[in-house]
């Protein structure tokens, strides 16, 4: 039973024999729950009959919803349906399975994020990847993308980013570790609905208005730092606290140096001072709570003076 990823483009090379030769023919391959409902179709592909077998290429973009679909082929000659076939085997659309290596990367990523949640000063979380100078994980994004390409989950890196341990790609590919819990419903990511809800939320947060999401909170957003070096990097998480619209905790962590908590309100600008270990200096970081629509709120870095 052929299995493909959601939305992948495939071509069915279909041997078709139409007699007699010289007829204007069309063939259409389509997937669906029945022959009336076309969830995906090649559309009519024209060819001229030769009276012998012809390999007709029928390109098809697979459905986006994971499911099992019947496959049908209709052949027309001079506009008349002369052959209607249903494939013996159905087509299965399933979310791509990560490799063991990719799962291991995601596991490390999940551990790092959990460390960050616990306030441990050991993580830097830019939007487009992850770097952990303490554990030497390095640029996790590159490793994960390379692995995803190597196992055929994605064709190219393109634009991708991570939220929690979920990888998102602009081509629609989403890679979710199976043990990971949805931050909304605390259930395992097992259903497309859960994934869609999560994805919608983070897309709205990061890619759209930076202010409003329509999903239910709490959620968290990791923002790219403007600067880092081998001894200092930071990230901050924004999350709801007790479901209060004005109680939000911005946590700023400095690897090797500690962290500072600050309570801010929507639209409020707040400066936190981050001590740099062994130097006696503090780094003032001005954060602005942009937007304010509920429940999605996002802190935005306004200034970052390392030697102030």
């Amino acid at each position: 039973m052929p299995e493909f990823g959601p939305g992948t483009a495939k071509t069915a090379i279909t041997p078709i024999t139409v007699n007699p030769s010289g007829l204007s023919c069309q063939a259409e391959l389509f997937l669906g729950p029945d022959e009336i409902t076309k969830e995906a179709t090649s559309g009519p592909v024209a060819f001229i009959s030769t009276g012998a077998r012809q390999d007709v290429r029928l390109p098809l973009t697979m459905p986006s919803d994971p499911d099992t679909y019947h496959a049908y082929i209709d052949v027309y000659a001079e506009g008349m349906l002369i052959a209607a076939y249903q494939a013996i085997e159905d087509v299965v659309i399933a979310l791509p399975l990560p490799s063991a290596l990719l799962i291991s990367y995601q596991g490390k990523l999940a551990e790092c994020i959990e460390d960050c949640r616990l306030g441990l000063p050991s993580i830097m979380l830019p939007v487009y990847g992850i770097q952990n100078p303490c554990t030497g994980i390095g640029l996790m994004k590159g490793l994960m993308v390379d692995e995803a390409i190597s196992i055929g989950m994605i064709a190219s890196a393109g634009e991708s980013y991570f939220v929690d341990a979920v990888m998102y790609f602009t081509d629609g590919t989403t890679i979710v570790p199976y043990w990971w819990n949805c931050p909304y419903c605390s259930e395992k990511f097992r259903s497309p609905e859960q994934l869609a809800q999560h994805k919608e939320a983070v897309h709205a947060d990061i890619l759209a208005t930076k202010a409003t999401i329509t999903g239910a909170g709490p959620h968290q957003v990791c923002v790219d730092p403007p600067w880092c070096n081998e001894w200092a990097a930071y990230s901050y998480l924004v999350r709801w606290k007790n479901n209060s619209p004005f109680a939000i905790t911005g946590r700023v962590s400095i690897p090797l140096c500690g962290s500072v908590d600050s309570l801010v309100s929507p639209g409020q600008e707040v400066t936190v001072y981050l001590p740099i270990k062994k130097t006696g200096h503090s780094i003032p970081v001005t954060l602005t709570l942009v937007g304010g629509a509920l429940p999605g709120l996002l802190l935005d870095s306004k200034s970052f003076d390392y030697f102030g």
Binding site: T11, A12, T14, I82
Partner: protein, 124 residues
């Protein structure tokens, strides 16, 4: 679809319009043939049939009776198309007068009964 005269003493050529020379197997179609037999008042029959030659009738309308008028008459000749597809069949039209074959025509175009076969798909 035009007919050429094979044998007989009727008009040199009878033109028979057929809009759809490609037919599906097993479908019922009616050919309307303009036939002129003179003089009027003769008991006539017409038969349209399909086959590889005029001796092998794969599908036929059977003999349809009409009375000659001395002018062109549109004679309806229903035919159940052959069930075997993938073949171009010759089309013949015979006209009988008082039991004797007067005209024998063959269409200049064949009737095509297409067939299609789909093999195993290979995904690329």
């Amino acid at each position: 679809m035009d007919f050429k005269k094979v044998k007989g003493n009727g008009p040199d050529r009878i033109s028979l319009e057929m809009l759809d020379p490609v037919m599906l197997p097993g479908v019922s179609r009616t050919a309307v043939a303009p036939i002129t037999v003179s003089p009027s008042g003769l008991a006539c029959e017409a038969e349209l049939f399909l086959g590889p030659n005029d001796a092998t009738k794969v599908a036929t309308s059977g003999r349809k009776s009409f009375l000659s008028t001395g002018t062109s008459q549109s004679v309806s000749l229903p035919v159940l198309m052959p069930s075997t597809g993938g073949v171009a069949y010759h089309v013949y039209l015979d006209v009988f007068v008082t039991g004797y074959r007067l005209l024998a025509y063959q269409a200049t175009e064949d009737v095509i009964i297409p067939s299609g076969v789909v093999g195993p798909i290979v995904w690329d």
